[in-house]
């Protein structure tokens, strides 16, 4: 059977098979190393879809922070409806809970998704 391996000095860069649930806690943006999570502030990047389009950055961040119950920073517009923000939480589980609260606030946010990382599909 032919051996299908990556060649040369570059290590394999296949996509990591991170389950979505694990990704929430171990987002690449989180401060703690994945192997040894340490308590402390972590940052989670997410995108929210507003029920009503807005470009009021401060207002969007304030609403996200109010609903999530943790500090939120506005990062970037993605489209008229979608906006990228960061949540600052005491620990990963606090961010999980904050995201849950955002997802339940359907009057303000039509959808809430993690702003995850994508990688090149090269071996």
């Amino acid at each position: 059977m032919p051996l299908l391996v990556s060649r040369g000095a570059r290590p394999a860069r296949a996509w990591l098979a991170l389950p979505l649930a694990a990704a929430v806690g171990a987002l690449s943006a989180c401060a703690a190393p994945a192997a040894e999570p340490t308590p402390g502030p972590v940052e989670v990047r997410l995108m929210v879809k507003l029920t009503r389009p807005s470009d009021d950055r401060a207002g969007i961040a304030a609403e996200v922070s109010r609903v999530a119950g943790v500090p939120a920073s506005y990062r970037s517009l993605v489209s008229a409806n979608w906006h990228a923000l960061s949540l600052r939480c005491a620990d990963p589980s606090a961010c999980d809970a904050a995201i849950d609260r955002l997802r339940q606030a359907r009057a303000s946010f039509e959808a809430v998704e993690l702003d995850g990382r994508k990688r090149g599909a090269v071996m």
């Binding site: 299908l4 040369g8 690449s28 879809k49 489209s79 599909a121």
Partner: protein, 698 residues
Amino acid sequence: MRRMNQRVAALAAAMLLPLAAQAPMAQSVRPAAVDAAPARVIVKYRADSDLMKKQAMTATGRRTLQVQALGERIGVALAAGAGVSDRSHVVTARGLSSASLAARLSALADVEYAVADERKHIVAAPNDPFYASRQVDATSGGPAVGQWYLKPPGPDGLATNTAPAAINAEQAWDLLSGGVGSPSLVVAVLDSGLRFDHPDLLANVVPGYDMIAADDSNGNGAGGSDFSTANDGNGRDADPSDPGDFITAAEKANNPNFTSCDVSSSSWHGTQTLGLIGATTNNAVGIASVGNGVKVMPVRVLGKCGGYDSDILVGMLWAAGVYSASELATLGLPANPHPARVLSMSLGSTGSCSQPYRDAMTRLTAANVVVVASAGNTAGHAVGTPANCPGIIAVAGLRHVGDKVGFSDLGPEIAISAPGGNCVLINDGEPCLYPIMTTSNSGAQTPVLGAAGAIYTDSFDTASLGTSFSAPLVAGAASLILSVKPSMTPAQVRSALQATARPFPTTGGSAGIPQCVAPTGVDQGECYCSTSLCGAGMLDVRAAVVLASGVQAQISVATASPTAGQPVTINSSSVIGAGQSATYLWAIVSAGTTGATISGANNADTVTVMPTAAGTFTVSLTTTDNNNYVSTAITAVTVAAAPVPPSSSGGGGGGGALGVGWLMLLLSAVLALAGVSHLERRRAARAVSGSARAVRKR
């Protein structure tokens, strides 16, 4: 009264004109392709034709007399061209296509045949030195089979310099105008940016953008100060140069942005994927590319340890030119002056398609933008995202023999498969036999500038393997499809790719490999593909371009106001594919009340129909090109009644119906005055009416 009748007839004709014109206009009528260059046809006369008896002092003079006679018969000014044989020569004309002229001449009794005198091009492999097979060793790069993946498919083996999974791009180029992809067609490559100093990439690149924002945020959306991912010291800007995406051990240990990534050298991933679509072809330098002349636009969305969804989404929407002015203003981005029709995305992650990508795809599809993405490289697991998003053409990777390459993911979301490179490797130090050769840079971390840095991946340390290279081959194929038919929608492009894909092989893989199965959560290496897991089949670019450029029958009614008793001229305005000719067949589908019949030949690009009465008839045109692609169009034509001839008595030219009516009214009044009952009046009226009909029949 005569003048009044003429006015009525004119008014009626004016009222009917829109009706007559409306039916054929309902078709997407497009003028036949008439080049500025004259139509050129080779005509051969029948041996018994009177035209062969024309006498002149010279052969040229004789041909001139012959074409004058031909021209009078078809109503087109013809000029005689060079002789081909004693009974055949070239004929030229202006104002119509070669196919149209050939069809008209073919219908003449004197003509044995008339065919378009088409320009042929040299069919040859491009002269890019790495395209062909050659000797290879550890210092001269590779692979020995050259750019095997672009060549016509053939049996496995170095002797034939090809492979069953090869995508047949070389023979597709011959179908294109000038032998190249459309320079007005832009493919955006959303990746790690580009090394602009690579000499094989200069000709086809249009300005792109760097969409990688800061990793941190100052909280107001205006950026931050941590540019770890971007690695260029700044956020979004107009420079999509690739500064390298290496990760050192120290960075992995200390930078929270990189903890999930491996220590690695720079990949020059964007330079590699873009080169497959946009490297300059036939320039005697380096490699050929599948796009062969289409424009490529680098949109930098991947940096160190990949890139964020938010940057990728902004890159997608900007590249396609779908952002509104207010969105651009809020983002602080300029409008994209070169909106892309195709997005190539050799990136992804595991997981389901998230809502922002679904929303982006809705906008991109509405804007007629084709999006192609790699399946992923987790060795037979579920298709990654965004490849698994609705509307995206997801591409799985094949080995050179056509079975699934071990690293490729698979699943029902896959639209089509294309080579991803494979090594057939046994021992270290031996060359990788079937990698995807493309452009790159020699820098291990930062780029090596200039000629020293501009390298090509090879069979050794820099072999390119991955579904990252399958997707650009499909994106390039899509760009060629749109080069020959820009009007195609993303769904039509997908359909063309899938309808022409070659079947997956069931033999030829490594001994004992299994059939592929749906992802189960465990690795699945090399296996035989099925259409339920690897898409419609193996990409065949030539077949897809042929299908896209195939004939499309269309009808246009030349007679402005079809009228009973007058001939109606109907033309083909069929769209004929690149390098194709066509034959035509007309038929009356339904004559209705018109009594319409075809007058004369029914196999030219124009037909004459003779209606005898008012009403609507329906005519069909079946156009067949020389690849035997068939297209049929049907059009309804409304025919007005013939103008009423003026009466010689000077009165009541309107005809019997009115006369009978007046007669019955007059009779009814007389009978009423005479005290005749209602029933008796009706009997008397029927008798008058019957007499009048009998008169009209006579």
